[in-house]
Amino acid sequence: MTPDIPPALLADQFTLRRRPPSEKLVDLGFRQLTLCLASVVALLLLGIFFTVLHGSEEAFHNFGLRFLTTSSWDPVNEQYGALVAIYGTLVSSLLALVIAVPLGLGTAIFITEDLIPLSLREAIGLMVELLAAIPSVVLGLWAIFVMEPAIRPVLDLLNQLLGWTPFFNTVPQGPGMAPAILILVVMVLPIITAISRDALNQVPPELRQGAYGVGTTRWGAIFSVILPSAVSAITGGVMLALGRAMGETMAVTMIIGNSLNFNLSLLSPGNTIASMLANQFGEADGIQVSALMYAALILMVLTFAVNVFAQWIVRRLSLRY
């Protein structure tokens, strides 16, 4: 039975609170403010795109698409072509991935399986993550003074054994494409390892148990069940690493030799779009700035395509459990 309370008393105790206009105003204002802040992302993207596009206009009018296929970079006669840099960007990043993908994937498998104690696995994972935190300029310094002298004998050997191919027919003399590729491997390895590790950890344990149940070995399960079910995220991670490798600047600039001449040999100095920008942008003027902006535009389009493809592939290939 409800006690009999007079309605007048009830109204005294429980009042409906109306939202004061000031509170509504604060709410609305905060919403609009955060909307503006979120839009900064879109404005920045547009700003970056149009700044670079506008800057490259002059070079585009002068050189057109010839810019992509000619290799002369001649500030004296004002003739510019980015073939050396485009070739260097693609070759260095793709070869770096060829080395880094097996290494990263192997590491990821090693630290997600129960082969060694958990604390040791976590320690390896932590070290790979900390490797990603080392600034690229420090890796470049290390590459100049430690890595390049250390691998020179190996490169010499490659030159002696495979010197008959156009890819190894120059004598290694310090900076060059090969050390740049190796330092890129060091830089993309943590990305590939981290993303593959997350992907492998997300494979439902039932799949593995099922595979073991029908009598397969550990690596049978890894190759035919676990890797296929994690392939979308791993591929996405590899594409992200490719984008990072193409745009990587400092370590590559310091060790690639920044040659403006085209050379197929991996042991000779080369160039990438990013290292060309880092080297010349500060001192360039006139149409050289525009040519560099044009090269920057190409790099931007390349990395944009790779990144969008990475996101698409993750969405397209992802299996749902």
Binding site: R17, V26, D27, F30, R31, T34, L35, L37, A38, S39, V40, V41, A42, L44, L45, G47, I48, T51, V52, G55, L103, G104, G106, F110, I111, M127, L130, L131, A133, I134, P135, V137, V138, G140, L141, W142, I144, F145, T193, T217, W219, I222, L240, G243, G247, E248, T249, M250, M254, A274, L277, A278, F281, G282, L292, A296, L299, T303, F304, Q311
Partner: protein, 304 residues
């Protein structure tokens, strides 16, 4: 009903009675061990670079650590001695400018994405744009800030400046801050928000007093990592903040930073400069590793 013929067979005829123990000499088991060995070797190769880089930075850089390193200016080419005091101050100043710009914008944008427009087309578009912005090479950020700020001389007719460098780093930090804020707020249980609304709080008060404090640790972790990454970036600074051999002269003048100092001094043919580059690497790596361990510690206290 006729009995199926296999019921007449004995169990030995039906099942393969191989022993259940694992025979290491089988081909499949040997292949298994081979792959385990390969994975182990790959993992050791992956750890090797960090180990070698740290050892060399500690040995080569640690040699020069002294009070003078932090209080003196770098020497002129050919001379010896000197320090990297201006570069340390410069790195701190430029990173501070970047943080002041990127943290409010990033946290605000993240709040909008998660709290106001969670599933709308605009939020999806901004999230996509944020991923694209995170993938823009850092050197392109430098080119952008050069074209938009340095070449146009918008700041009191100054070209290269600490402010321009800070803006370039802020562009790099922004995607990380937005992403961690968005993800951090998503982890806050919906019941907390309902509880706040239930006792009459407005949306603004709910976000400020309930949701944001509940997501403090993941957001703080992301921000610490973003600052650590920005402090080590070089590419966006070489033609925005440029370099200076002197103490910082305000935010609208060129400024030294440790990362640009390492780049400039590493490729100089002088030994004094080369060893200062190692010393700067030591200071920079120590700062960044400390920030990373701080971030790790933050996320650990959040879990317990």
């Amino acid at each position: 009903m006729s009995t199926p013929s296999y019921l007449n067979l004995s169990s030995d005829q039906l099942f393969d009675r191989r022993p259940l123990t694992r025979d290491p000499s089988l081909r499949r088991n040997r292949i298994n061990q081979l792959f385990t060995l390969i994975a182990g070797i790959f993992a050791s190769i992956a750890v090797l670079p960090l180990f070698l880089v740290l050892v060399y930075v500690l040995i080569q850089g640690g040699k020069l650590i002294s009070l003078g390193l932090f209080t003196q200016l770098p020497p002129a080419p050919g001379l010896t001695g000197g320090g990297i005091g201006n570069a340390i101050v410069g790195t701190i100043l430029v990173s501070a400018i970047a943080s002041l710009l990127a943290i409010p914008v990033g946290v605000g944008g993240g709040i909008y994405l998660c709290e106001y427009a969670n599933r709308g087309w605009f939020a999806q578009f901004i999230r996509f744009g944020n991923d694209v912005l995170a993938g823009v090479p850092s050197i392109i950020c430098g080119v952008f800030v050069y074209g938009a700020i340095v070449a146009t001389r918008v700041f009191f007719d100054q070209s290269y400046s600490a402010a321009a460098g800070g803006i370039a780093l802020a562009v790099l930090m922004l995607p990380t801050v937005i992403k961690t804020t968005d993800e951090g707020l998503k982890l806050v249980p919906q019941e907390l928000r309902w509880g706040a609304y239930g006792i009459g709080a407005s949306k603004f008060v709910t976000i400020m007093r309930v949701t944001l404090p509940a997501a403090f640790t993941p957001i703080a972790t992301g921000i610490v990592l973003a600052i650590a990454r920005a402090a080590g970036e070089t590419a966006p600074l070489i033609f925005t903040a440029l370099f200076s051999s002197f103490w910082p002269e305000g935010v609208f003048n060129p400024i030294a930073s440790m990362s640009v100092l390492i780049f400039n001094f590493a490729i100089m043919p002088y030994e004094a400069q080369n060893s200062l580059a190692w010393a700067a690497s030591f200071v920079l790596v120590m700062m960044i590793l400390a920030a990373n361990l701080l971030a790790r510690w933050l996320s650990r206290i959040a879990r317990s």
